[in-house]
Amino acid sequence: MALERGASQGTALRIVAALVPLFCGLVFAFVANIPVSLASGQVPPPLLALVPVYFWCLVRPDLMSPAAAFAIGLMEDVLSGGPPGIWTLSFVLTYVLVARQRDSFASLSGLAAVVGFTSAAAFCCFIAWLTVGVLNWHLPPLSPIVGELVMTVLFYAPTAMLVGWLHHRLVGPLRSEI
């Protein structure tokens, strides 16, 4: 009886832990899009939600599924106020890129890891920029999206450390059981 109760608790914990990447992405999208700026709105907010997508797509692609990347992009779209669907498409296509080149990205470390993330973030921003251009029949100015990319890369290191800590504390211990 106690064994069964323990097993059901373990299953529940595993389900909760499996939802951590998705939940983390949604929370990061929410935090990044709180419309309060310490720089009087002069600096674009970083794409914090891209960090969990990138991280768990490399480390645990079974937990960061395409559907989760879609949901996180959708959250970014709803909260950011831009043209609908832009970040959803960008996040999903970035997910595809990272998943296809997973071995290359995952083998990077140190500064090279930052460069790897920068290339993924640049691809994401380029897709968003291009999609807006196609929708409006003229390309938007490049400098704002470059500013967004720079901010995202600047925030990558601390965000990745936080995501890594969450992974080791909540998701990592369950790796062998899933």
Binding site: L38, G41, G85
Partner: protein
């Protein structure tokens, strides 16, 4: 430490990937066609966030001011001198403006000019601002519950900032004049010579100086010309101060905005709707005023000579006089009224 991450097994769910990409593309197209669904979700989230934003706003605003004041410490003396000089100059202009305002009022009375529509304003506080690659926006703490509606102009003490484009119950989103999606019909009043007003479209491109697209390519502008809203289309009131013309680096003309969306804290949402032009009374029509009654107007010669075409039904022939009596008479009135107006203008 290379490859420090423990890599789990690959996700081999190829079918969901294709479906998700297709869904994302559909979402983009759906968002282009029906952005209302997203807008509703956004205003709901913002309404829900409003109390939290109010709480966060005060310390952030304090931090902003503190950061801004660091640089000002070193220039406060020069700034004070400059402001005193500017204040003295503005007092002179204020007196001139009061005299001119009285004079315009007298002329309007003499000419029986149509009075300017009255504007109702809703005072709102900025509770959020964001500069994103595809959207530059402010979030205000007034919504439909406070009579703030989409399309209305938002101004601060200096000039126009933007327009409300989404209104929730307690909050509203403002699209700034610098946003790439902003297009405002404006009038450029010449600052030198006696050149007339020039109509133009002011469009944002995410830079602090929106572009000016002239409606007439033969018009010439000068740096320092005043830019105000033209009121075309009836969405915005005429004459809202916007900025001054400055030359752009690309050879075109741009607008240096009077309002500063980055620092403003309290704004007004102008509740404006152009009143429909009242139809003139029957007795005020030029034909009636001249004593020409509709019944006495002879039918035009072409109508007298008109013969039904072969094969056409008799209904196409001119109607009998009794049938012509009322509706065509008003048509004749309109024709004579327009002729009289044309004479008047000549």
């Amino acid at each position: 430490m290379p490859n420090a991450w423990k890599i789990a097994r690959k996700s081999n769910a190829q079918l969901p990937l294709v479906i998700v990409i297709a869904l994302a593309v559909v979402l983009v197209l759906l968002g282009k066609a029906q952005s209302g669904l997203f807008d509703q979700a956004r205003v709901k989230v913002t309404d829900w966030l409003a109390p939290g934003l109010e709480l966060v706003r005060a310390p952030v605003q304090g931090f902003d001011r503190w950061m801004g004041s660091i640089g000002e410490i070193f220039t406060v003396y020069e700034e004070n001198l400059r402001l005193k000089e500017e204040n003295a100059r503005l007092r002179q202009w204020r007196n001139v403006a009061i005299v001119m305002q009285n004079r315009v009022g007298r002329y309007q009375n003499l000419l029986h000019a149509v009075p300017d529509p009255k504007l109702n304003a809703v005072l709102a506080r900025v509770i959020g601002r964001a500069s994103r690659p595809f959207l530059q926006t402010l979030i205000l703490d007034a919504g439909t519950a406070h009579n703030a509606n989409p399309g209305e102009a938002v101004v601060d003490a200096r000039g126009m900032i933007g327009r409300v484009y989404l209104a929730g119950k307690r909050t509203s989103w403002v699209i700034l004049l610098t946003d790439p999606n902003s297009r405002i019909p404006v009038t450029v009043a010449a600052s030198v010579g006696d050149g007339g007003a020039v109509q133009a479209i002011m469009s944002g491109d995410n830079s602090p100086l929106p572009m000016l697209d002239l409606v007439s390519h033969t018009a010439t502008l000068h740096a320092g010309d005043q830019v105000v809203s033209s009121g075309d289309g009836g969405l915005l009131p005429y004459g809202l101060p916007i900025g001054t013309v400055v030359p752009g680096n690309d050879g075109g003309w741009r607008v240096s905005l009077l309002a500063d969306a980055a620092s403003t804290q309290d704004v007004e949402i102008l509740n404006y709707s152009e009143p429909p032009e009242p139809l003139p009374a029957e007795a005020e029509l030029p034909a009636e005023a001249a004593g020409i009654h509709p019944g006495t107007v002879p039918p035009p010669p072409s109508a007298q000579k008109k013969v039904p075409a072969a094969g056409k039904p008799a209904a196409a022939a001119p109607a009998p006089p009794h049938a012509e009596a009322s509706p065509p008479a008003s048509a004749a009135q309109r024709a004579m009224a327009s002729a009289a107006r044309a004479d008047g203008t000549e």
